[in-house]
C-alpha cells in the first residue's frame, strides 16, 4: 500500500495549516466546524469541538446554514463558474444574508481567510471536471494499460458523488451522476442504483455508503501502471484528451486533480503487482478488487489482516476434505449383513473410498456422536452400498468430447451423460411455496408455504398417520400400544401448523438414508424460529429460538443430530437437536446469511451471504477457513460435491461459480440462467451439476469441463435443447458458457428444489404460476 503526497506550490503559512487540517479530517469536519461555530459562537475552539455529543445539534444548524447558502449555490450552478471564489464577495454576501453577523465573523476569524475560500469555494464543478479529465486520461491511455486503469473510475466516481451529497450539492450530485453513471452501469448497476437513492447528507448513514467511506477500496495495478497514474496525478502528464482546452494547466484542472488525489489517498489502496499487466486473467478483478478488506476475515490471532482472499485462504491452513471415516464395528456388521444377503459386493470394502489428493479426518475430529451404532445406521450403510451398485453413472465428459452434433452416437452419449428428471409441480399454492424438500428415500416431500404452514406428502400414496388426541402417554409403554394409538383414518398428506411467518426452508433428517422414511423434519421461518417435527407422530417436538431475525435456511449435518441455520441477523448458527440454544455462532458476514451447506464429512460448513461472498467455516472451532469472493450479487444457493472437493455457489448475478475448496480458488464461472437460481445439486459422482431457478428451467452443467463463453462464429457442440442444436442466436446464447449441457424448460414453473436421489435420479419441484396472475 502506498501513500502519495500532494504537492502544493508554496502555500502561505496559515493556509497550509488549514489545508493540512482539512485533508487530515476530510471536508466533513471542516464543515462541522462551520456548523459548530454557527451554533456555539462563544466556543472559540470550534475546530476541536466536533465530538459525537454535538451530533444532534449539528443537523439543525446544518439546515440553517443550507438555507442561507442556497442562493449562492443556485446562482453559481446556473452560471457554471465559481461565484464564491471571490472571498470578499462571499464575505459581503454572508454578512448581508441574514446570518447573525457576530457568529459568522467569529467563524471566519477562526478559520482564516484562506480557509473560508477553501470551504466555500468547494465548487461542485471541480469534481465534475476532475472526473471528466480522469476518464479522458484513462481512455487516452495505451491499450495495454487501459484495462488496468478502468477500475479506478468507479471508486472515484462513488466518492465524488458521496462528497457532493455530503456537502449538500444535491443538484450538482444528480448532474454528476447522470453524466458519468452510464459508462459505469455495465458492471456496477447495483451499487449505482443504490447510490442514486442517496440525496441528502443524512442518507450517508446507508450501509453501503458507510462501507465506501470507512473501508479501503482495493485496486490491482502493475508497477509501471501505478507510476503512470502517480505521474499524472501530480504533474498532469500524458494521456490528456485532445481539445481539453486549458485542461490540466488551468486552475480548475488542478483543483479537480487535487480532489482525485484526496480520494486516492484516503479511500483507495493499490495492490501493486509485479506481474505483467497482460497476464492477469480478465475476471481476476472480481476476486481481488473492490471493498474486500472487511469481507476477508482476520486470521487466527486477529493481528494480521490479509489483503486479498488468496492470501487469507493460504494462511488458514489445509483442509481435510476426505470422507468421514466409518465406525469399525459398524463396518464389520455391515459387511456381515451384506454377506448374508448374498450380495455380490460382499467381498468389497464397504468403507468409503478416499479420492486421491484428499485427507480424511480422524474419527476424533468429527462432531461428537453416540458411541454405539443403531439398527438404523446399519440399514443405512447397507442401503448405501446397494445404491452404489445399482446407480446409473452419469458421464457428461463423454458428451463434451462428442464434437459432431449430428452423429448418431450422440443420442447414446446423451443418455449416458444426462440424468432423467422427474418434476413435481405444485399447483393451487395460494401465496406461494418458498421451499420444498424430498426425503432421501424419495418417499416424502415436504413443502413450506408462505401461509406459515408446512405440508408433507407421501409420494407413494401411503397414509400419514399421526397420534390420536386422546392417548394417555402414561399407558403407552410398548410399540404395540403406540401402534394402537395411531389415527385410524388419515390422508397421504398432512398439514403441520406452528409457525407464525412464511416458512423459508425445510429439511428431512438424513439418519435413515435411503433405507427408510425419515423420522424428523426441520423448518425455519420468518418468525425467527426453527421447529423440529416428528414424522412418527406428525407433531411439533421442539422450537429452537435464538435468532433475532427471520431464519432463511436450515440444513441437517450429514450425520444427523446437528443442524445449521442461516439468518438475516448476519450469523449462521450450529445447533444440536437435544439442546435449545445454539452450540456455535458463525459471525463475520457483513450482511444476511442466505444459505448454508455442510461439507459431506461434516467438518466444515459453507455459508452464502448477501455481502456477495461465501465462506467456509470450521464447524467445531467456529472460525472461517476459506472466503470466496467473486460474485457480483447476493448468494442464492449453494451445493457441495459429494466427493468433497467442490463448492458451487449461485448468485443474483445469475452466474454459478465453482470453487475448489482446498485452494479456495475459483475454477470457473458458469452462466446461462436468465433469472435467479434457486437450487443446485451435484450428481453422486460429482461430475454433473443440475440447477433450477426462476427462469422456469432446469439446466445441467458439466463440472469437469473447461467452461468459458462460446466463441462467436463457431458452431456449438453441446448446449443442446431437446435434440435441437441451439447455437443459432449468438446474440442470445453468447452469455451461455459451453459447459451448459442441456436446458429443460418447464411450463411456467419456477424450480425451487433440485435433488439427486442416491441412484442418480433427479427430482425437481416447484410451484406452477397460473398465467392470469398479475
Amino acid at each position: 500500500m502506498q501513500q502519495m503526497e500532494v504537492e502544493q506550490e508554496k502555500p502561505p503559512e496559515v493556509e497550509r495549516m488549514i489545508l493540512e487540517y482539512l485533508r487530515k479530517r476530510g471536508h466533513k469536519n471542516a464543515e462541522q466546524a462551520l456548523r459548530d461555530a454557527l451554533n456555539l459562537p462563544a466556543n472559540e475552539q470550534a475546530e476541536d469541538a466536533s465530538t459525537e455529543a454535538s451530533e444532534p445539534v449539528q443537523t439543525v444548524s446544518d439546515e440553517e446554514l443550507r438555507k442561507h447558502l442556497v442562493p449562492f449555490w443556485e446562482r453559481k450552478e446556473g452560471s457554471g463558474d465559481n461565484a464564491l471564489s471571490d472571498g470578499d464577495l462571499t464575505m459581503q454576501s454572508l454578512l448581508t444574508g441574514g446570518v447573525t453577523a457576530p457568529s459568522v465573523t467569529k467563524l471566519l476569524e477562526s478559520i482564516g481567510p484562506g480557509g473560508v475560500d477553501e470551504i466555500l469555494s468547494v465548487d461542485p464543478t471541480d469534481r465534475h471536471e476532475g472526473f471528466r479529465d480522469l476518464e479522458a486520461w484513462v481512455d487516452g491511455s495505451l491499450d495495454m494499460y487501459r484495462p488496468e486503469f478502468r477500475p479506478i473510475l468507479f471508486p472515484i466516481f462513488c466518492h465524488f458523488y458521496l462528497d457532493l451529497i455530503q456537502l449538500g450539492f444535491r443538484d450538482a450530485g444528480i448532474r454528476f451522476f447522470n453524466t458519468f453513471s452510464p459508462s459505469l452501469s455495465q458492471t456496477h448497476s447495483r451499487v449505482l442504483h443504490r447510490f442514486s437513492e442517496l440525496l441528502l447528507p443524512s442518507h450517508l448513514h446507508d450501509e453501503l455508503a458507510q462501507r465506501f467511506r470507512n473501508e479501503k477500496y482495493v485496486l490491482r495495478m502493475s508497477k509501471s501502471g501505478f507510476s503512470l497514474l502517480v505521474g499524472w496525478l501530480t504533474e498532469g502528464l500524458g494521456g490528456e484528451a485532445s481539445g481539453a482546452g486549458e485542461g490540466f494547466s488551468g486552475e480548475k484542472g488542478k483543483r479537480g486533480r487535487a480532489a482525485i488525489m484526496r480520494v486516492v489517498n484516503n479511500h483507495l489502496r493499490f495492490d501493486v503487482t509485479t506481474s505483467n499487466s497482460t497476464s492477469v486473467p480478465p475476471n481476476a478483478w472480481e476476486e481481488s478488487s473492490g471493498l474486500i478488506s472487511d469481507l476477508i476475515p482476520s486470521s487466527g490471532s486477529g493481528q494480521d489482516q490479509k489483503s486479498d482472499p488468496a492470501a487469507f485462504n493460504a494462511s488458514a491452513g489445509a483442509l481435510k476434505l476426505g470422507p468421514a471415516p466409518m465406525d469399525e464395528a459398524l463396518r464389520a456388521e455391515t459387511e456381515r449383513r451384506l454377506r448374508e444377503m448374498n450380495s455380490p459386493s460382499a467381498m468389497q470394502d464397504v468403507r468409503p473410498t478416499v479420492p486421491a489428493g484428499l485427507i480424511s479426518p480422524s474419527p476424533t475430529e468429527l462432531l461428537p456422536r453416540p458411541a454405539l451404532f443403531k439398527t438404523i445406521d446399519l440399514r443405512r450403510e447397507v442401503e448405501r452400498v446397494r445404491d452404489e451398485r445399482k446407480r446409473l453413472r452419469l458421464e457428461p465428459s463423454a458428451l463434451a468430447m462428442e464434437k459432431d452434433p449430428t452423429s448418431s452416437a450422440v443420442n447414446a452419449v446423451r443418455a449416458r451423460a444426462l440424468p432423467s428428471v422427474c418434476a413435481y409441480t405444485l399447483y393451487d399454492v395460494g401465496e406461494g411455496a418458498p421451499c420444498s424438500t424430498f426425503s432421501q428415500d424419495s418417499s416424502l416431500m415436504a413443502v413450506g408455504f408462505s401461509e406459515s404452514y408446512v405440508r408433507v406428502w407421501n409420494l407413494k400414496g401411503d397414509k400419514l398417520r399421526g397420534i390420536r388426541n386422546d392417548v394417555d402417554p402414561n399407558t403407552t409403554r410398548d410399540s404395540n400400544a403406540l401402534r394402537k394409538a395411531k389415527e385410524r383414518d388419515a390422508k397421504s398428506t398432512r398439514k403441520l401448523i406452528g409457525h407464525s411467518g412464511p416458512v423459508y426452508s425445510v429439511a428431512f433428517d438424513p439418519l435413515s438414508g435411503s433405507s427408510a422414511p425419515p423420522q424428523y423434519l426441520l423448518s425455519s421461518s420468518a418468525d425467527a424460529t426453527v421447529r423440529l417435527w416428528s414424522m412418527e407422530t406428525m407433531s411439533n417436538l421442539v422450537v429452537y429460538r435464538g435468532h433475532q431475525n427471520p431464519v432463511w435456511d436450515v440444513q441437517w449435518s450429514p450425520m444427523g443430530i446437528y443442524f445449521a441455520t442461516a439468518s438475516r441477523d448476519k450469523t449462521a448458527r450450529l445447533w444440536s437437536t437435544d439442546r435449545l440454544s445454539a452450540l456455535r455462532i458463525y459471525a463475520g458476514h457483513l450482511s444476511d446469511v442466505d444459505c448454508v451447506k455442510f461439507h459431506p464429512n461434516s467438518l466444515y460448513l459453507a455459508t452464502g451471504s448477501s455481502d456477495w461472498t461465501c465462506r467456509l467455516w470450521d464447524v467445531q472451532k467456529g472460525v472461517p477457513m476459506r472466503v470466496f469472493i467473486g460474485h457480483q450479487g447476493a448468494i442464492s444457493a449453494l451445493a457441495m460435491s459429494p466427493d468433497g472437493r467442490y463448492l458451487a455457489s449461485a448468485g443474483e448475478d445469475l452466474a454459478i461459480c465453482l470453487w475448489d475448496l482446498g485452494s479456495g480458488k475459483r475454477i470457473k464461472k458458469m452462466t446461462g440462467h436468465t433469472a435467479s437460481v434457486y437450487s443446485m445439486s451435484f450428481s453422486n459422482e460429482s461430475s454433473l451439476l443440475v440447477s433450477g431457478g426462476a427462469d422456469w428451467t432446469v439446466r445441467c452443467w458439466d463440472v469437469k469441463g473447461a467452461g468459458g463463453l462460446v466463441n462467436r462464429g463457431t458452431v456449438r457442440e453441446n448446449g443442446v435443447v431437446n435434440g435441437i442444436e441451439d447455437g443459432k442466436d449468438h446474440e442470445e446464447s453468447s452469455f451461455e458458457t459451453v459447459d451448459l449441457l442441456a436446458t429443460f424448460p418447464t411450463k411456467r414453473t419456477p424450480i425451487a428444489t433440485v435433488h439427486f436421489t442416491s441412484r442418480n435420479l433427479c427430482l425437481v419441484s416447484g410451484s406452477f404460476l397460473p398465467s392470469d396472475q398479475r
Binding site: 444535491r170 444528480i174 447522470n178 452501469s185 455495465q186 458492471t187 448497476s189 442504483h193 440525496l199 441528502l200 443524512s202 442518507h203 446423451r414 443418455a415 440424468p419 432423467s420 428428471v421 418434476a423 413435481y424 409441480t425 399447483y427 393451487d428 399454492v429 401465496e431 406461494g432 418458498p434 421451499c435 413443502v447 405440508r455 423459508y504 420468518a526 427471520p550 438475516r568 444476511d592 448477501s610 447476493a634 443474483e652 448475478d653 452466474a655 452462466t671 436468465t674 433469472a675 426462476a694 428451467t697 432446469v698 435443447v721 435441437i724 442444436e725 441451439d726 443459432k728 442470445e732 453468447s734 452469455f735 451461455e736 436446458t743 424448460p745 418447464t746 411456467r748 398465467s771 398479475r774
Partner: protein
C-alpha cells in the same frame, strides 16, 4: 462481467417522489406555508426511506422464491425494521386503482386515481351461498427429461412451434426479474421467438419431429396401409383416436391421407375393390383425427376436405362398395361440420357450393350425382332442401334416370327426401280420384319431376310434408 447487466438505473436521481406531493400532504394537514426547500428536502428523504423499505422487502421476496413483491413482503420488511406494519393490505385481493372523472374546476390537478372501496351489504352476503374454500395445494409428477431428452408430453412446453400464439405470449411474460436492480432478463434461448425463420424450412422439419414421433409415424402408416391385419389396424386407429401428444405429427398425417387419396384416385379407369378398401381406411383415419380431443385440427381442415370430397364425388368407385364409401364419407363430413361449423361459420356454405355444382351442372356421372346427394345429407336438412327441391336436383336426376330404375343414386335421393320429411309407417297412396290428392300430385311433379313424384306418390302423407317443407321454408 457479463454483458447481461446493461441496465442503467431507471430512477431519475431527481426523484420519483415530487416535492408537490409533500406539499399536498402538508396541505391536508393544514400546513400551508411549507417552503420549497423543505418540501424538496423532505421529498428526497421520503424517497430514500421508501427505497430502504423496498430494499428490505426485496430480500423477503427473494427468499419467498417469488419474482413479484407483494404487500406481505412489505409488511415483513416493516416488521424487521421495527415499524408498525400497514394492516389491511393482503396479497389476495390487490387494490384496484380507478381514474377519477376530470375535475373541471382546477385543470392543473392532473389525473387523479383512487382506490375503489366497494360497499358490502351484510344481508346480501349472509343470504348468498357460502364462500367456497379454495382448493388445497396439490402436486402432479411428470418426466421433465428421460435420459437427457425431454419427452413431448402436454406437461412439458412444446419444443419448437415457436410461432404459435401461446408461445409468443409466454415469451412476453417471460420470467421475471428478481428485485429492482437485476439486469433485464434476456429471454431464454429455449423459447426465443423468431429464429425458426432464419433456418431453411427443410432443416426445421427435421428438427421438429423427435425420434419417438418419427418411429410412431412409420409404424402407424405401415400398419394402416396396405390393408392387412384387421386387429392391428383397429389398434392403430384407436391410438390415433385417443392418444395425446400427436399434435406435431398432424401435418404429416394430413398430408399422408391427402397423398393416399390422390394416389388411389389418379389410377386410370375404375377402381378395384382393394382400392375401395384403402379409401375406407383413409376415411377412418380422417374420422379418428377428428375424434381425437387433444388435437387441434382446425388449421388443417382445408387440407382434409379435398380428399374427403374427392372420395364423395369421384364417379368411378368400384360398384360393390361405392355406396358404402360415399355413406361413410358423408358421415365423416357431417361429423366434421358438427365439430367445426360453430367456430368456422363459412365452412358449410363453401362445402355446399361444391356439392351443388356437382349435383346440378350438366355432364356429370351418376356416381358424382349420388356422392353430391350423399354429401348434402351429411351437411344437413337445409342443404338437402336447397339442393334437391329448390335447386332442382331431384328433377335433374329424375330426368336422367329411366323409369323403374333402382340405381344407387335413386336410393340416395330417396334417403335425402326421407331426411327432409320422414315417410310414414303405413303409407296411404295418393288417389287420382281425390281432387285434393291430384293437386298435391301436380305440385310434387313440379317440385321433384315426374320420376320422383311417382316414387313419392304411394305415400301421400310423405308427399304432403315435403311440399309443406318447401312452401314454409322456400320463397
Amino acid at each position: 462481467m457479463s454483458k447481461s447487466k446493461g441496465k442503467a438505473p431507471q430512477t431519475q436521481a431527481s426523484g420519483l417522489y415530487k416535492p408537490e406531493s409533500i406539499k399536498d400532504v402538508a396541505e391536508s394537514l393544514n400546513i400551508t406555508n411549507l417552503s420549497d426547500a423543505i418540501a424538496s428536502a423532505l421529498a428526497s428523504d421520503v424517497e430514500y426511506r421508501i427505497h430502504q423499505v423496498v430494499d428490505e422487502a426485496a430480500r423477503f421476496t427473494r427468499h419467498a422464491r417469488r419474482t413479484m413483491m407483494t404487500t406481505s413482503d412489505i409488511d415483513q420488511a416493516l416488521r424487521v425494521l421495527n415499524i408498525e406494519p400497514l394492516y389491511g393490505h393482503s396479497p389476495h385481493n390487490p387494490p384496484t386503482f380507478k381514474r377519477a372523472l376530470p375535475y373541471p374546476q382546477s385543470q392543473a390537478a392532473g389525473t387523479v386515481y383512487f382506490v375503489e372501496d366497494e360497499e358490502i351489504d351484510f344481508d346480501r352476503v349472509l343470504r348468498e351461498d357460502k364462500i367456497p374454500l379454495p382448493k388445497p395445494a396439490n402436486w402432479t409428477a411428470h418426466w421433465l427429461a428421460v435420459e437427457g431428452v425431454q419427452p413431448l408430453i402436454p406437461e412439458n412446453p412444446p419444443a419448437i412451434p415457436r410461432d404459435e400464439p401461446d408461445l409468443a405470449s409466454a415469451k412476453l411474460t417471460t420470467p421475471p426479474r428478481a428485485g429492482p436492480q437485476l439486469p433485464p432478463t434476456p429471454s431464454s434461448p429455449g423459447r426465443s421467438g423468431n429464429y425458426g425463420a432464419k433456418k431453411p424450412n427443410q432443416l426445421l422439419v427435421k428438427q421438429v419431429l423427435s425420434r419417438e414421433l418419427q418411429l410412431y409415424y412409420t409404424r402407424l402408416t405401415s400398419t394402416l396401409l396396405p390393408p392387412r391385419d384387421e386387429s392391428m389396424r383397429t389398434a392403430a386407429l384407436t391410438s390415433l383416436r385417443s392418444d395425446a401428444g400427436l399434435q406435431t405429427l398432424l401435418p404429416y398425417l394430413v398430408k399422408w391421407v391427402g397423398d393416399g387419396v390422390v394416389g388411389v384416385l389418379r389410377e386410370a379407369g375404375s377402381l378395384s375393390e382393394v382400392d375401395g378398401k384403402v379409401l375406407e381406411i383413409l376415411l377412418d383415419v380422417i374420422g379418428a383425427l377428428l375424434d381425437n380431443k387433444t388435437l387441434f385440427v382446425e388449421p388443417y381442415l382445408h387440407q382434409l376436405l379435398p380428399p374427403l370430397l374427392s372420395i364423395l364425388l369421384y364417379g368411378n368407385l368400384h360398384p360393390t362398395n361405392s355406396t358404402q364409401l360415399r355413406t361413410a364419407a358423408s358421415q365423416v363430413l357431417s361429423h366434421l361440420l358438427t365439430q367445426h361449423s360453430t367456430t368456422y361459420p363459412s365452412l358449410s356454405p363453401r362445402i355446399m357450393k361444391t356439392l351443388l355444382v356437382a349435383l346440378i351442372s350438366p355432364g356429370k356421372g351418376k356416381g358424382t350425382r349420388e356422392g353430391a346427394v350423399r354429401g348434402l345429407i351429411g351437411v344437413g336438412k337445409e342443404a338437402v332442401r336447397k339442393g334437391l327441391l329448390e335447386g332442382g336436383g331431384a328433377k335433374l336426376i329424375g330426368s336422367e334416370c329411366s323409369s323403374g330404375e333402382a340405381s344407387p343414386v335413386v336410393g340416395a335421393v330417396l334417403d335425402a327426401l326421407r331426411l327432409l320429411a320422414p315417410s310414414s309407417a303405413q303409407p296411404r297412396p295418393l288417389s287420382p280420384q281425390n281432387q285434393e290428392d291430384v293437386s298435391v300430385m301436380t305440385s310434387l311433379a313440379a317440385l321433384l319431376g315426374p320420376f320422383f313424384a311417382a316414387r313419392v306418390a304411394p305415400d301421400g302423407e310423405w308427399g304432403r310434408t315435403i311440399l309443406t317443407v318447401q312452401t314454409t321454408a322456400g320463397p
